[in-house]
């Protein structure tokens, strides 16, 4: 039974991953990527990692994909106007990816033929045991991750702020009195924050 679920989830995951690469519209790529993430989450459930399933759905399908969709909508990229690479580059990309797959398959063929026994490892995926492990053995990486997230947040805010400063300066130079309302808003916000 679990084998059929595995086949179904794997087929769906690989198919939608291919559609991420080959669909022209970035919005469709994001939606197919959400399907892939849900399939990977289903694999986590099969492997009895329930905590990771919840975190995966919340972080990937909830936060990261919404961020991608938001950026695509913000940059107005929701039409398939992206020019493709030349035939030579696309063909060589396919060839080199196929060669990489061949190398991985040849290296890992017959490496581990044992079966995963379900039920024997059902306890390690629970929140209680993972939490104990996270706060005993892996306490230092956990704290370093918090510093990393803080640094990423500060970095993202700083990048956004410099961009706002530059665009308001250029719109002042180019537009002069007839500035568009968005630039006026940015300018007002800048004056507001400066005061």
């Amino acid at each position: 039974m679990t084998l059929y679920v595995f086949y179904f989830l794997s087929f769906l995951a690989v198919l939608s991953a291919l559609m991420v690469v080959f669909s022209r519209n970035p919005i469709y790529s994001v939606l197919y990527l959400v399907i892939t993430f849900f399939c990977v989450g289903g694999h986590y459930l099969i492997l009895s990692a329930e905590f990771l399933f919840a975190v995966h759905i919340i972080v990937y399908a909830g936060a990261i994909m919404v961020l991608f969709l938001y950026v695509i909508m913000l940059l107005n990229l929701n039409q398939a106007t992206e020019p493709l690479k030349t035939h030579f580059y696309r063909f060589s990309a396919l060839i080199s990816a196929g060669l990489l797959m061949l190398v991985i398959v040849a290296a890992l063929r017959g490496a581990e033929s044992a079966e995963i026994v379900f039920g024997a490892s059902a306890e390690i995926g629970l929140v209680k045991n993972l939490g104990k492990m996270l706060f005993n053995e892996f306490l230092l990486p956990f704290e370093i991750v918090s510093i990393l997230l803080l640094a990423a947040m500060v970095g993202a805010v700083m990048l956004g702020k410099t961009h706002m400063k530059n665009s308001s300066v250029t719109s002042e130079k180019t537009n002069g009195l007839s500035a568009d309302p968005a630039a006026m808003n940015i300018k007002n916000a800048k004056q507001f924050t400066n005061e």
Binding site: F6, V21, L75, G98, M101, F118, I124
Partner: protein
């Protein structure tokens, strides 16, 4: 372990997870090489991270050791930080060059 009853109860050989993860990883590499839109390239990097996560969870469940799942948790945090900073950089690039085409950004290419 070889008869069909235990097969139906227990299930999936570890090999299958290795094949699935390598297939997802190679699709991610293909996307990075194939596309020109920087946002889609970011998505393919996420796909590669997910393939590695899936293999880590499979081996963690196989060896009955929770360390792999803690690693996956930390990798998810790193991926979230990477996406936040990367998309901020992409927005700045878009406002400077008015496109997310990676062929525009060839100043560092020799």
């Amino acid at each position: 372990m070889n008869d069909s009853a235990s097969q139906a109860m227990h299930g999936v050989p570890l090999n299958y997870y290795i094949w699935l993860s390598s297939a997802l990883f190679v699709i991610g590499v293909l996307g990075v090489l194939y596309r020109r839109n920087a946002i889609v390239i970011f998505m393919c990097i996420e796909l590669m991270l997910n393939a590695v996560n899936l293999l880590l969870v499979a081996f963690s469940s196989f060896h009955n050791d929770g360390g792999g799942q803690v690693f996956v948790f930390l990798i998810m945090a790193v991926a979230a930080a990477e996406v936040a900073v990367g998309l901020a950089i992409l927005i700045v690039i878009y406002h400077n060059t008015r496109s997310t085409d990676i062929n525009v950004l060839n100043k560092l290419k020799w």
